[in-house]
Each structure stands twice: as structure tokens, then as C-alpha cells.
């Protein structure tokens, strides 16, 4: 979700909030590493959330993180074929 307030108010079972520009919830176009980090966080949250309505706010700033390095650190970067 793009809005923490909507996540709180609508309260889906699990929501992940990214502070990215509107219309780009997964990140910049053509930045697969960035998309992967967001999805990786979301899937982990899917597995770990234990109660309904939990909201995960991701800390990443648009264009300011080294998403490839984040994936490497997690050992989650076998793709990039």
C-alpha cells in the first residue's frame, strides 16, 4: 500500500506499506532488484504475521538504497539471469 493510514483504516489481514511515489508500489520501473526486495519482505511477512491487521512499514527510500546489495546480503539473488 502507498498509505499507512489506508492500511490502518481498511485493515486487510496483512499489509505492507512502501513510501515510494504513487503508482510505483514495487519501486522504479526496470529495477528488478528493488521489486525483489519488496516482494521478499512481503512474503516473509506473509509467513510470519500472527494476527489480523498487522501493517509492515518498509524503510526504503526511493532510489537511495543499494537493492542488489540487500539481496546479496540475504542470499536471495540467484536470479538476474
Amino acid at each position: 500500500m502507498m498509505f499507512k493510514r489506508y492500511a490502518d483504516e481498511l485493515s486487510p489481514p496483512r499489509s505492507v506499506v512502501t513510501r515510494f511515489p504513487f503508482g510505483r508500489p514495487l519501486g522504479e520501473p526496470s529495477k528488478p532488484d528493488q521489486h525483489r526486495v519488496i516482494i521478499d519482505d512481503a512474503l516473509r511477512f506473509l509467513a510470519e504475521a500472527r494476527e489480523p491487521g498487522q501493517v509492515l512499514e518498509l524503510p526504503y527510500l526511493w532510489r537511495r538504497e543499494d537493492f542488489a546489495a540487500i539481496l546479496d546480503a540475504r542470499g536471495a539473488r540467484q536470479l538476474a539471469e
Binding site: 486487510p12 503508482g23 508500489p25 514495487l26 528488478p32
Partner: protein, 229 residues
Amino acid sequence: MTQQQHGGDDDTTEAEVLKALREALKNPESTAFSRLKYMARPARTRKELTEFINGLFINAATGKDAGDYRGMERFLLEWEDRMEAMLFANAPVPKGLASTPWAPVNKPVSGMRVALLNTGGIYVDGDIPFEPRADSSFRELPRTLRQDQVRVSHGGYDYLGVLEDVNCVLPVERFRELERQGVIGVLHETMYSFMGLIPDPAQLSAEAAPEVARRLKAAGVDAAFLAST
């Protein structure tokens, strides 16, 4: 604009002052301004605009003095939050359900059938476009979706990113990769799109959303990944 008010130190009217302040905040509305562009909209008060411009000046000068612009960054993030609060206050937010539904996870993600959904008004070339000002219907898209088949009809957000790379809203390529790598079990064949600009969500709650949920359940989908814009 005949009434003279204390707009400035000369014969400037309040309306002229507001116009000048808004002009000072004119911006290209590109992604850098995505959450701040509302500063240049007519709803802002003179007090807000003055506070914002003064804060920019103070933070820019102290940042330059210290060679450290983190204060400026915090200042802009705070104003993004204020704009979000303003948007939220003005938007007709549908009330959530009385209680949040819960489907516990009872298998590893690597064994799940995962479906992708979005509210970005995305549809596949040849299908019926969404009505961009109000439409609570949904569209199906195949998991084989290619970028050259991507179309968008939505009256409420900047979808240039989607037209360049659909994965920034509907990460179909990423999930195909995750399936190949065994991170998820299966990416469900059908993806579902909504167009998020729905002034009256009654029909969405009563018909379209339950119908999509019914189809997903009937198909044995374990998890739904829904991106909003």
C-alpha cells in the same frame, strides 16, 4: 479581488499573495514531487505555504553551513506525511470491515499457489478498458502477460511507470522468476485488476470483490498479493 487585505507591504491582495506563493511552488509533478505536489494546489493556506517555504530556506542554509542535508530530508518527509494526512482527510475512505478477516498460513510459501492482483486499472490489449472516473468491475489478465500487451485506464494516478514496466505495480515477471527458483510454489494462471478510483464502493463490496475472492478460492489459491497505486 477588490477587497484590500493585509497581503503584503504594498497594495497586494490576499488572492495575489496566494497566487504568488503557489507559483513559487510550481513543479513538474515528476516522481520526486509525487507526495509533495499538493503544496501547489489551491487548497493550501497562506500559513501553510509560508511555513513550508520558510522551512525550506532555513533547512537549506543550515544544511549548507553544516555540509549535512539530513535536516532538509526530515523536513520534506514530514511534509509528505502532512500531505498524506490532508489527502486522507479529503478522500472518501470506505470503512473497513467490522473485524479484520484472517486466514492463517498453514504451509510454507514455497508450496503456495499465489495470485497477483492490482488496483492500477491495468488490462490486456484487446479487453474492454476501465471507465477511468468510476468503475468497480474487474479484468482478468494471463500470467503470460507481456509488456507490449499492457494497457491502463485509470483517472487517479500517474501510470507512466506501468507503461514503462508493468512490474512496478503488477510484478508478474518477478513472480515467474520466484516460481522458477522455487521461492513460491505456483504463480496462478489468472491475475485480476481493479481500477482504484471508485467513488461509491458499494458494488465493489457487494459483487466484484466477493466474485474475485470466490474464483481464487475455487482455484485453490493460497495467497493473494495485491498492489495498490
